[in-house]
Symmetry: none
Subunit: 247 residues, 2 copies
């Protein structure tokens, strides 16, 4: 792929400029837009690989724009928002956004997410949606979700604890996507009662859990191939995952 072209859509000139500059410094072509009209102009006038879309766009909701865009083409969209509450995030996903970032965001996280979305888009021009969840292959490893068994490249059976399994599933469902500790925690913690989820867990439980999983599914836990650390961000599952459907 040539150098990716991104649209930066924000009605606040300062934010827009900052984002654009930042992305350019990191090797992308960044094209600033401030309205749906300018977005369409850009879309018509050339290839666009990704749209960074502010959720609040004047009196328009970015969400709505996203919905309309999704109806017409399949340019990946990352929603950017000052509203970090979970339901807003969900509204974003429901609308078809590929990812969602809350302001103020860690620039490294933004960069990682952008790369991840581009990476995904590259290898799934036709949506490769999971058909049924039963077996996964990743870097020589094999995971059978039905039996909850993990098999190493050498054929050894490895037994994971409940939490380790849950963590692995989270990563298998989000390969190449950097996940923050908070996100992982939420994913594992969802207690369903909708109240303590995302409890301000201050501890380092995720770190320890990741370490334990590494100990089981990394050939050289000190030099992780699968569960990579992204300093200041979180962790990424850094290999492709092949999902095979039932029977």
């Amino acid at each position: 792929m040539t150098i990716p072209r991104l649209l930066v859509v924000d009605d606040d000139a300062e934010t827009r400029g900052m984002l654009t500059q930042f992305l350019r410094q990191n090797g992308f072509i960044a094209l600033p837009c401030d309205s749906e009209v300018t977005i369409r102009e850009q879309l018509d006038s050339g290839r666009v690989d990704l749209i960074l879309l502010d959720v609040m766009l004047g009196d328009e909701y970015g969400v709505d724009i996203c919905k309309r865009l999704r109806h017409e083409q399949d340019v990946p969209v990352i929603l950017v928002s000052a509203l970090s509450a979970d339901h807003h995030r969900m509204a974003g996903y429901e609308v078809g956004a590929d990812d969602y970032i809350a302001k103020p965001f860690n620039p490294n996280l933004l960069l990682a997410r952008v790369k991840a979305v581009l990476h995904r888009a590259k290898r799934s021009s036709s949506l490769t949606y999971r058909r049924s969840i039963s077996t996964f292959r990743f870097g020589g490893w094999f995971y059978d979700a039905k039996r909850d068994e993990v098999t190493s490249p050498q054929g050894y059976q490895v037994s994971l604890s409940r939490k380790e399994t849950a963590l692995l599933k989270v990563f298998l469902g989000n390969p190449h996507i950097p996940l923050t500790r908070e996100e992982i925690n939420t994913a594992l913690d969802v207690t369903g009662d909708g109240q303590d989820a995302g409890n301000g867990n201050p501890g380092r439980a995720i770190d320890v859990l990741v370490g334990r999983l590494r100990g089981k599914i990394e050939t050289e836990p000190k030099v992780p191939e699968l569960l990579r650390t992204q300093r200041g961000v979180g962790y990424v599952f850094a290999v492709d995952v092949a999902v095979e459907d039932d029977q």
Copy 2:
């Protein structure tokens, strides 16, 4: 089966979002709805394998919606409710719900229940109504309810005590459905006089009882195939049960 499609119906956006996200992370396609209208839209626009329906839906009762839906199609429904009192539960079942979960619920329990209902739905598109229950087959074992005899896959006769038999029956009646200790206790305690049921048994009687039953009907009690533990939840009978009627 391809990947199951679930409707998540709740008028509270946050709960809805959390549930949706959780289910997606666990490999389902989850479609959020907030009213009967949106439910019908989804039902009309594609296959739906299961509906997770909140009992309280604005001023509407989910129960009523469930009743109406049941009249028209036979999509499985799990009712979700903040009201855990037993009579509400019963109202749910009478209305044709396939299962019922009280908030706040353990997410693993929810997941397990969803899988169980989908599992059941798959293998009984035509209702397999029991006429009179007399014999069961499960994982090579055979249980004759008339004579109260259990026969092993190898043909040995195994004798169970009264409680062990009762426990086995509870599981045979609820295969693939995770049962909490409390539920099992209630089921076993119903002495027929229907009065002392649900005594606040504080002990670990169920654990011990399960252990004893395992010792009799598991080939390898240390690695249970039939009576699986669900940590933090309870126990599941993890194999199919074939019911043969008297004739």
